[in-house]
Symmetry: C2
Amino acid sequence: MALLDTVVMRGLSSQGALSPEDKALLLGLELSPRQMSASEVLWLESADADLFCVVKEGWAYSYRNLKNGSKQILKFYLPGDIIGIRDFGFTRRLASAVMINEGVIYPFSYQQLFELFGRSNLAVGIMATAIRQQALLSERLIYLGKYAAHEQLAHFLYEIYLRLKRIGAVEDNSFLMPLTQELISDALGMSPVHVSRTFSMLREEGLVIRDRQHVQLPDPEALARLVEFNDSYIDEFLPPTFSELLRATP
Amino acid sequence: MALLDTVVMRGLSSQGALSPEDKALLLGLELSPRQMSASEVLWLESADADLFCVVKEGWAYSYRNLKNGSKQILKFYLPGDIIGIRDFGFTRRLASAVMINEGVIYPFSYQQLFELFGRSNLAVGIMATAIRQQALLSERLIYLGKYAAHEQLAHFLYEIYLRLKRIGAVEDNSFLMPLTQELISDALGMSPVHVSRTFSMLREEGLVIRDRQHVQLPDPEALARLVEFNDSYIDEFLPPTFSELLRATP
DNA sequence: CGCGCCTTTGATGTCGATCAACCTACGTGG
DNA sequence: CCACGTAGGTTGATCGACATCAAAGGCGCG
């Protein structure tokens, strides 16, 4: 359970890239769920790094505290995401991780991952997960660099929209987003007030309707055009050629 | 040759985490060098992704073109770095990659990587490389978010300094940096003029002396303090516990 | 020597930060 | 059931960091 629920593993599986033994190995991990309350801390920056977490229910985020007292959010984690991959290969956490609302997570240790690495196909899956995270980070970086606030926010919302859509959490172009404007401001590196103004701007243009946690994108395509969104880095699981290579390699 | 020259693999090797067979496998890859001229393109955004490149000599960078005509540089690659890991797991390149000055690279295909994945220890090494890149990206993201121009530039220079130092390319606190201010501006998301002004500011404070490609940091520690640099994400190769786990796992 | 690339310096404009007040929804306890 | 407190959100006024435009000063190279 749980690791197979991961976004990437589901993709691998649906492409027939996982052998029965691979699946058995994943299932054999025997992860035990842990109930988390809102704002509960998974770990703090520079704590010892020794495990990952698969998010089953709820949202979480990772962040770093800054000198000036504010913080920079690196990523929001939705159900199906793996938290902690960033720190794999380091002795200590590079960022803190905290739940946003209540939820359920499945922790699993580095040691368990090592066992999976014995099977090359799974190594590829884990690797792909890590790379995908990096892709999300790159996109954010690009938008932080030279884009105006409304473009950043639009891009951010569209990313969330796509990620929720692929786990079936979007209906009628609307979804639940348990984020305060302050959290969003910490992610986009702007002030909370400006996030508010920017939401107003997008509302007036008919692109985003938001009431507390309810968000609706009346015309997602228009939004995508505004931000020139290249969805491949979210929609794609693994390239077709990979599945072939994986089946070919013993 | 070449893959063993990689920063991470050298780290792994020095910790005794690579078995003789691992090393043999790496050496057996038989990579052939390719001479590159300045500004030569490795690949363009959305080209088919099918290989990596180990940088042997010279500098390179990856970037994305933006709507407004400018570009965002994602990363500068120095000798010992691997270019293209970001795209592994995607069918197409997420960013273009270009040489800065002339140099030598060793291309190797995805297929060759798959063969390495059969050996779990090597999978871990590759994985660690990818994660490390992500860490660099995270740091940049943090600095783009809420920091002033002089802090960003200081952070950028100190990162380059550390990376060059670990490959032995720093002498007397000074090094060669074949970057124009325009390239730096594209990386930091600010205007070229402001990069110039910011360099002046750092010079007046006695933190950075720059003449064309020659950069000297009279007091690296002062710079590190200014940016609260946490070098673990560059200095560290693999945590000691990893080496144990790797030796333990068959 | 003279052309181009890189860099520097000055003047002006603007996007978003900051400070501050107010408003709304919601939960708590009297 | 209402009074109140608190967290989140909106709106206005002011200010500053950086962008942009423009011109001029090195430095290397053909």
